[in-house]
């Protein structure tokens, strides 16, 4: 009975997706999207049987561990055991997000069929979080069980992909710039152009995350990623393709650039700002740089998959990490920008030297150089992706 409904719903959602991924049009269509989602939700609840019904009660997974998917190098070793001790809720913490698209491919089919993905919190970058929300894959957050949500910093409260933060809250914000090994480069770096220096042929990597790699190369070309046109994308992709074909670029990676950088296989990588400290145990020499042309700014967001039957536990975890002292504990080991108010003061108590670090608290001069990639329409997304996949030889 449900097949046809699913197909209709798929079609509807595809349409909504197309409209909604354009930031400009988002507000007008979001009301429509909410309507569509409510309808989708009802359909699913009536078809889904067991899995659909249990979420509201929150007792479905009572006693069950909260299962989290996050990126590597994104947490300290104390938070999980401390949370378990404080709440009695067990945590199954997986560092299995290496790349947004790759992770989406794994969860798309089961979520489309309203099946469990055995995860209660997933952490995804803004644009991908937006896609999950539009597709109706994310559960609305019950604010009554998440009082610390009030600690969310003001500038991230009303983002275009989730107005009012109904479905998502940031884990941390980060910057994409240059990670490098001064021992291998033999000099300090300043510019994105350094990654194209023939001296480092075969010793550099870029990210498969299109918005980061494309954004940085656009900045190098003096183009603005916030207003990226097809011509900009083409120019940046040509630059990348040339460097790939000449053997300048050794690989395109997800978070796995970290191991190559630490192992000394590469000298320079497009890298995320807070990862380097996590690698210092393997290689204390590594450095991260916001190049003079600028760096890319993004947030990674926690979402609860709609099929999670442990939403209360998930909310308890979110509430825990939104306590400033707890957020500071995470930032101490993963020096990214915390979205939680008051974290700076708490961090000053436990790691004073880090509290003033530009990675954690970018100074005005750096903030001016941070860029957010344009919210692409569906057509742009497809076209940019096609160009980018061709450029990276995938």
């Amino acid at each position: 009975m449900s097949n046809k409904h699913f197909d209709d719903r798929d079609h509807e959602i595809q349409q909504l997706l197309r409209q909604a991924l354009s930031r400009r049009r988002f507000l007008t269509s979001s009301a429509l999207a909410a309507g569509g989602l409510a309808l989708g939700g009802n359909l699913l609840a009536s078809c889904g049987g067991k899995e659909g019904g249990s979420s509201g009660a929150g007792g479905g997974g009572a006693g069950g561990a909260v299962r989290i998917s996050n990126w590597p190098l994104y947490i300290d070793p104390k938070t999980v055991p401390d949370f378990e001790k404080a709440t009695g809720i067990k945590v199954e913490y997986n560092e299995d997000v290496n790349d947004n698209s790759e992770f989406f491919a794994k969860i798309d089919e089961p979520l489309k069929r309203n099946q469990s993905i055995d995860r209660d919190i997933v952490v995804l970058t803004d644009w991908m979080a937006g896609r999950l929300i539009v597709l109706g894959y994310a559960a609305a957050l019950d604010d009554s069980k998440f009082p610390n949500k009030a600690n969310l910093v003001d500038n991230l409260r009303d983002v275009s992909f989730d107005p009012g933060r109904k479905y998502s809250v940031p884990w941390v914000s980060g910057m994409a710039g240059l990670g490098y090994n001064p021992k291998k480069t033999g000099r300090e770096l300043t510019s994105i152009e350094d990654i194209f220096d023939p001296k480092f042929k075969g010793q550099v990597t870029m990210l498969t995350e299109m918005r980061d790699s494309l954004g940085l190369v656009m900045l190098a070309l003096g183009r603005d990623p916030a207003k990226a046109t097809q011509a900009d994308a083409k120019a940046a992709c040509e630059r990348i393709k040339k460097a790939r074909e000449s053997g300048q670029i050794r690989k395109f990676t997800g978070n796995d650039y970290a191991e190559d950088l630490a192992a000394g296989n590469i000298a320079i990588a497009f890298a995320w700002s807070g990862d380097i400290q996590g690698l210092s145990a393997d290689n204390p020499d590594l450095k991260w740089l916001a190049p003079k042309e600028g760096a890319m700014l993004y947030s990674d967001n926690m979402l609860i998959p709609k099929t999670s039957d442990r939403q209360d536990q998930a909310l308890a975890f979110m509430n825990y990490v939104y306590e400033p002292a707890h957020s500071a504990q995470i930032i101490k080991e993963a020096p990214y920008i915390s979205p939680v108010k008051g974290t700076g003061e708490e961090l000053a108590k436990i790691a004073p030297e880090l509290a003033s670090s530009p990675l954690v608290n970018p100074p005005e001069e750096l903030r001016a150089r941070l860029h957010v990639f344009k919210a692409l329409t569906d057509a742009e997304d497809t076209e940019f992706n096609r160009l980018f996949q061709d450029a990276i030889g995938a």
Partner: protein, 281 residues
């Protein structure tokens, strides 16, 4: 009496069908059905003519196909060169060590493919022992590298598929009647002549099976190219994986899979014609 005879004769006639039924059913459910679904996907480009996926598959990824077959061919030849002497020694000369040596050939399978390939990544890394050694003997220039090169990908393929070459060759060598070799020598054949005229022809079915078992999976492999290669060594398997999982262009990915299957099927048929051994059937 006559009745039971007829019944048993009928049972006898039915026996082969009953014996192959589970296998046929298995293949039907897990091979034919997915294949049909894949075929449907490959022609389902929305808003484009049905052949769109195939045109793009051949138009855009020709170099990837050629590269895959080139790598797989080189890996197969290397496996043969390494594997045949090894299988020969195990079959004819190993004596009491035979089982131990066979066990050692199979031993790598106790860890997964992925972990073994990751191990290669460590061994070949720029600061690793292999690079250091080759630089000491000046086979590799200062600043040269092994990881993320064609050499590493072909090396990985050869390493990972070598046992699939050794085992069939071993089996066909093992079952050769030693008296045939003795007879050749009695008839004043040199050891080399006996090998060339007796052992080698009799072992061809093993070579045939081994080269297919090596070549086919190697040409569709993506792990080695992904982990040990750079973007300039990407094989068709990497492209298919990427199209399915990252770009999510299912028609293109399915079309690529079919083109790969078609080329391999034609290739294998041609190969059978040339080296074709009725023994194998």
């Amino acid at each position: 009496m006559a009745g039971t005879g007829a019944a048993s004769a009928r049972q006898y006639r039915l026996a082969p069908y009953l014996l192959i039924a589970p296998g046929i059913l298995w293949l039907l459910v897990f091979f034919v059905v997915p294949l049909v679904a894949l075929a449907q996907t490959s022609v389902a480009s929305s808003g484009e003519p049905w052949w769109d996926g195939y045109v793009r598959a051949l138009g855009t990824y020709g170099t990837h196909f050629l590269r895959s077959f080139r790598y797989a061919l080189i890996a197969t030849v290397l496996s043969l060169l390494l594997g045949y002497p090894l299988a020969y020694v195990i079959a004819f000369r190993a004596g009491r060590l035979k089982n131990l040596l066979l066990g050692l050939v199979i031993l790598p399978f106790f860890t997964t493919f992925l972990v073994r390939t990751f191990a290669w990544k460590t061994i070949l890394s720029d600061g690793g022992p292999a690079v250091w050694l080759l630089q000491q003997v000046h086979l590799l220039s200062e600043g040269g590298r092994l990881l993320d090169t064609t050499l590493a990908v072909i090396g990985g393929l050869t390493y990972n598929f070598l046992p699939f070459m050794i085992l069939p060759i071993y089996v066909s060598l093992e079952k050769i009647d030693r008296r045939l070799v003795e007879a050749a020598q009695d008839l004043y054949s040199t050891p080399l002549g006996a090998f060339r005229r007796v052992v080698m022809p009799l072992s061809l079915p093993g070579v045939f099976a081994g080269s297919l078992l090596t070549f086919i999976p190697a040409s569709g492999d993506f792990i080695n190219a992904e982990l040990l290669g750079s973007p300039n060594q990407q094989m068709i398997g990497t492209v298919i994986q990427n199209q399915f999982l990252e770009v999510r262009d299912y028609p293109l990915a399915a079309a690529l899979s079919f083109v790969l299957m078609a080329i391999i099927t034609v290739g294998v048929m041609a190969y059978t014609k040339v080296l074709g051994t009725e023994d194998l059937g």
